[in-house]
């Protein structure tokens, strides 16, 4: 399994890498993101917020080199991903890209998300959720993806057939057909396909017991998920929301919350320490 921090460091130019390696060990262990903004000091995001990596601003050349490393010097081969605002780099690292998107020189900021496999993310959760669907909620950066990955791994290793929709290549980080993260022995992964389309394909082709997908938001995705639940599949999914009450106030989620697709809500509360609260929908 990859060491997410090392994979993230491999994307950095020499100067930035040295600065990142100079961080205290306990900080390196909890870095969630590296933020590189043109002409501004680079920062790392940890539990306590953003802290500067060095006083000097990030140069255009440094941003270009990160993109060179993330794209294998082939920006043209990932234009579709770039249009969606992110890149999946080797080792399961996701790079968020801001700028006008036309070329590497015009990129204004990059967000390198450090992937972590955290079996302890399941601590405090019930041993089993039974047959009901599970919806994981938290604001951005709360650890939804990590928790979903661990839930998938647990159920899969128990022998349940799991189909995993990995639209952004972040959940399983498949590289040359091999998931870079442990997502369990009975998991089938469909990567880089829009969620609604992926759900239909997986239902037809893989007959899953559990269907897992990250960051529900588009009406088309919500509809696909309801359709899957109607076929008797258990859904595990994540959504950006501060909590269940906040989600209930969003109109597009009303039908999904009322029709029994999801039975359990796992609300992640940002720490430190980070805690999970399980509610019944």
């Amino acid at each position: 399994m990859p060491d997410g921090w090392s994979a993230a460091l491999r994307l950095l130019p020499e100067g930035l890498r040295t600065a990142a390696r100079g961080l205290p060990g306990y900080v390196q262990e909890e870095v969630e993101e590296l933020r590189l903004r043109r002409s501004r000091p680079p920062t790392v995001l940890c539990g306590a917020g953003e802290r500067p990596l060095r006083p000097d601003g990030v140069t255009v050349d440094e941003l270009c080199e990160v993109l060179d490393r993330a794209t294998g010097c082939s920006y043209h081969a990932v234009t579709e991903e770039l249009r969606r605002g992110f890149l999946s780099a080797p080792g399961g690292v996701r790079v968020g890209v801001c700028g006008d998107g036309l070329d590497a020189q015009s990129v204004s900021s990059l967000c390198i998300r450090v992937p972590r496999q955290l079996p302890e993310a399941l601590n405090g959760l019930p041993e089993s959720f039974g047959a009901g669907g599970v919806l994981i909620l938290s604001p951005p950066g709360g650890g939804k993806t990590t928790l979903l990955r661990e839930l998938v791994r647990r159920e899969s290793d128990r022998g349940r057939r799991v189909s995993l929709v990995d639209e952004r290549g972040e959940l399983a980080a498949v590289c040359h057909g091999e998931p870079q993260f442990d997502v369990g022995r009975c998991t089938d992964v469909l990567s880089l396909v829009p969620k609604a389309e992926a759900v239909t394909r997986l239902l037809r082709a893989m007959s899953p017991e559990i269907l897992a997908l990250d960051e529900l938001s588009d009406p088309a995705d919500l509809e696909a998920v309801r359709r899957a639940a109607g076929c008797g599949v258990t859904l595990y999914a994540t959504v950006h929301a501060a909590g269940l009450d906040a989600l209930r106030r969003m109109e597009r989620f009303q039908a999904l919350l009322n029709d029994g697709t999801f039975v359990h809500a796992v609300c992640i509360e940002r720490g430190p320490p980070r805690r999970c609260r399980v509610e019944t929908i």
Binding site: D68, T71, C73, S74, Y75, H76, D103, Q105
Partner: protein, 163 residues
């Protein structure tokens, strides 16, 4: 009599050396024309590959390895420092300063933007190299015989001075 023969042989050799010197300059310029044509054709192939396949550059360079410039790039390719390798390879070419700069300038574009823009920039430099080759060829057509003749004449002049 022997001395006269020796002098005549010496005179012939010096004249021939002059002619050969002139021809060597001509041949070097001709080689530069070939190099310019070769590089222009390589850039054309790269543009075609980008346009038709949009494959990652390591794959494309692998397909272009029969061309020395791309063979070097393929060997140096590490997925991180292509701009540096490209610039280094461009500056190592025995070309005029303008052609070198144009070729090296592609380092900022190749692999760093969408295929459309890369193709456009490659096409511009390809045309520039082709034009430089054509101009050099035109000069050579005029200068070729002149250079050889001038070399021989200089050799003859030197012979007269030495005699």
């Amino acid at each position: 009599m022997n001395l006269l023969y020796l002098r005549l042989c010496g005179a012939l050799l010096v004249t021939a050396a002059g002619g050969l010197g002139g021809h060597a300059i001509y041949a070097a310029r001709k080689r530069r024309v070939s190099l310019l044509r070769e590089l222009a054709a390589g850039l054309g192939r790269l543009a075609d590959e980008l346009e038709l396949t949009a494959a990652p550059l390591d794959e494309i360079f692998e397909r272009l390895r029969e061309r020395p410039f791309f063979d070097q790039l393929s060997k140096d390719f590490d997925g991180a420092t292509l701009a540096r390798s490209w610039r280094r390879a461009a500056m190592a070419q025995p070309l005029d300063a303008g052609s070198k700069t144009a070729l090296a300038g592609l380092a900022e574009t190749v692999g760093r933007c969408g295929a459309g823009r890369q193709v456009k920039e490659l096409e511009l430099v390809r045309r520039r190299l082709d034009e430089a080759a054509s101009a050099l060829e035109r000069d050579l057509a005029i200068q070729g015989r002149t250079l050889t003749g001038l070399g021989a004449a200089l050799g003859a002049l030197l012979t007269l001075i030495l005699l």
